[in-house]
């Protein structure tokens, strides 16, 4: 665990030093929320569960949940995922 922490810290320092986008270096998801109608998740790892009320998406070590109603996955590709519907919330776990 200590080794992983160290590696993480080194990467973050490198990212700050080289002014690279963090989501690229640290393998973080980039989430764009458009009003309450659209959520775009880039750099995801797959769908964990989905339904009309919530969509759970695996992102790296964590998981993002989009809450809402009448949710539809407008498109699903290997690098990005677009959720549409009436969004009520977004949470990390």
């Amino acid at each position: 665990m200590a080794w992983r922490d160290l590696r993480h810290r080194v990467r973050q320092r490198m990212a700050d030093l080289l002014e690279l986008p963090r989501e690229v270096v640290l393998d973080l998801p980039k989430i764009v929320v458009v009003g309450e109608v659209q959520v775009l998740i880039e750099n995801h790892r797959g769908i964990v569960a989905y339904g009309p009320d919530q969509v759970r998406v695996s992102v790296g070590e964590r998981e993002v949940t989009v809450h809402g109603r009448e949710l539809v996955l407008r498109h699903v590709r290997s690098e990005e995922l677009l959720v549409e519907g009436r969004i009520t919330g977004l949470s990390f776990r």
């Binding site: 797959g46 769908i47 989905y50 996955l73 699903v76 590709r77 290997s78």
Partner: protein, 404 residues
């Protein structure tokens, strides 16, 4: 753009059924198969749209994730084409239709001549027919320049010709050559058009009947279109006209005469009248039998003097039914009086100008004005009036042709 390409390449709506649908989607996404409009129907079922070419690889994924799918809807051009392949006669009919329309439009259906005036269009059409331009000719084989050249060669009265096509209509546009009018050789006299004093006579053809200083009346023969027939006499250069034998010719010549024109004008010293002030009022009223109701505007605009224009609209009488209702639209224009007081000199100047204008109104453009005279008539009745006679003397050609 995205929608257009997806339509061209075709896509299908699938209904999936299985326990581990998430796994199916992740696997599809990781293999680069795009999924659209993913929607959960219930716990075991979901609907999704995928491109047509992704259906085959999805079968393997479905088998590995123990999912079953069913194609619900097919959308796009490939399916349309497939449908057309099944209905071969329909596709063939559409194709034949296009070909027939194209073939029919490549024929000339009608030929038209425009721009002709005195020429007979049938003549031009005949030449065009010889050159190949006729209803039923194949358009692509025709050379417009060839037809133009043929018409220009064969019809000498055509100065320019242009052939162009408008759909299935061929239009031959021609411009005619203008020929000078043939010389008039009909025998005639030159007679006087006006009354005047002959100043000079110049005979080009014919026999003079008047001399300088004669007074002529309208209709009087000035140059007769009759000449004695010349018979060679016994001596060289001597010609003796036999009496009584005359030849009729087209008389020509100039007979200039002095003509007088008179004009009269009178101008009062004091003039009065009324003119519109520019103000007007509109009244709209309804007349029922003998009663009048004002609908809009004032019944009385308060003008001292006015001139009115009345427009009456009524319903058309139908059989013996006459509706006793009329719509009156009255426009009243206010009039104001005016009064002009002139000095005698002013009035005289004005009268002179008007009298001269009156005299000159009858003078033709080519006449030469020799003299202008103005006489004031002595004041009589009524006293406040200036009266002027003007006289213009001109020298002009008074001859006109009169045919026998």
């Amino acid at each position: 753009m995205f929608r257009l390409t997806s339509y061209l390449r075709g896509f299908v709506s699938l209904v999936l059924e299985g326990e581990a649908l998430e796994k199916f989607f992740n696997m599809a996404a990781s293999r680069g198969i795009p999924l659209w409009n993913l929607r959960r129907l219930n716990r075991r079922r979901a609907a999704v749209q995928v491109p047509l070419q992704a259906v085959w690889p999805l079968r393997h994924i479905a088998r590995r994730t123990r999912t079953r799918f069913r194609i619900q809807k097919r959308v796009g051009l490939p399916f349309l084409l497939l449908g057309l392949c099944r209905r071969r006669m329909l596709a063939g009919g559409a194709f034949v239709f296009v070909i027939v329309v194209y073939l029919l439009s490549s024929f000339v259906w009608s030929v038209e001549v425009v721009g002709h005036q005195s020429l007979d269009p049938q003549e031009i059409l005949g030449v065009a027919r010889e050159a190949g331009l006729r209803p039923g000719a194949w358009r692509w084989r025709l050379r417009a320049a060839e037809v133009e050249g043929r018409i220009a060669d064969r019809v000498p009265a055509v100065a320019w010709v242009g052939v162009h096509f408008k759909g299935t209509r061929a239009i031959i546009e021609v411009a005619e050559r203008k020929f000078p009018a043939p010389a008039d050789v009909r025998p005639c006299h030159i007679v006087a058009a006006k009354c005047g004093l002959v100043k000079e006579v110049l005979v080009l053809r014919g026999t003079p009947r008047v001399a300088e200083g004669d007074v002529v009346e309208p209709g009087q023969v000035l140059i007769a279109g009759e000449v004695p027939v010349a018979v060679p006499g016994p001596g060289v250069g001597q010609e003796q006209p036999p009496p009584g034998e005359l030849r009729r010719v087209h008389a020509a010549g100039l007979v200039r005469a002095r003509i007088w024109y008179r004009g009269y004008a009178e101008v009062p010293l004091v003039e009065e009248g009324e003119r519109p002030s520019g103000r007007s009022a509109l009244v709209m009223g309804l007349r029922v039998r003998d009663r009048e109701f004002v609908l809009a505007g004032k019944r009385n605009p308060g003008y001292l003097r006015y001139h009115e224009e009345k427009l009456v609209k009524r319903l058309p009488a139908w059989r013996n039914l006459d509706v006793p209702v009329e719509l009156h639209i009255v426009r009243r224009y206010e009039l104001v009086p005016w009064r002009i007081q002139r000095s005698p000199a002013e009035a005289r100047e004005m009268a002179v100008q008007r009298a001269l204008e009156a005299a000159l109104s009858g003078v033709p453009a080519q006449a030469r004005i020799l003299d202008q005279q103005v006489n004031e008539v002595p004041a009589g009745h009524p006293p406040g009036l200036v009266r002027v006679w003007a006289q213009v003397e001109t020298l002009e050609d008074i001859g006109t042709e009169q045919y026998f």
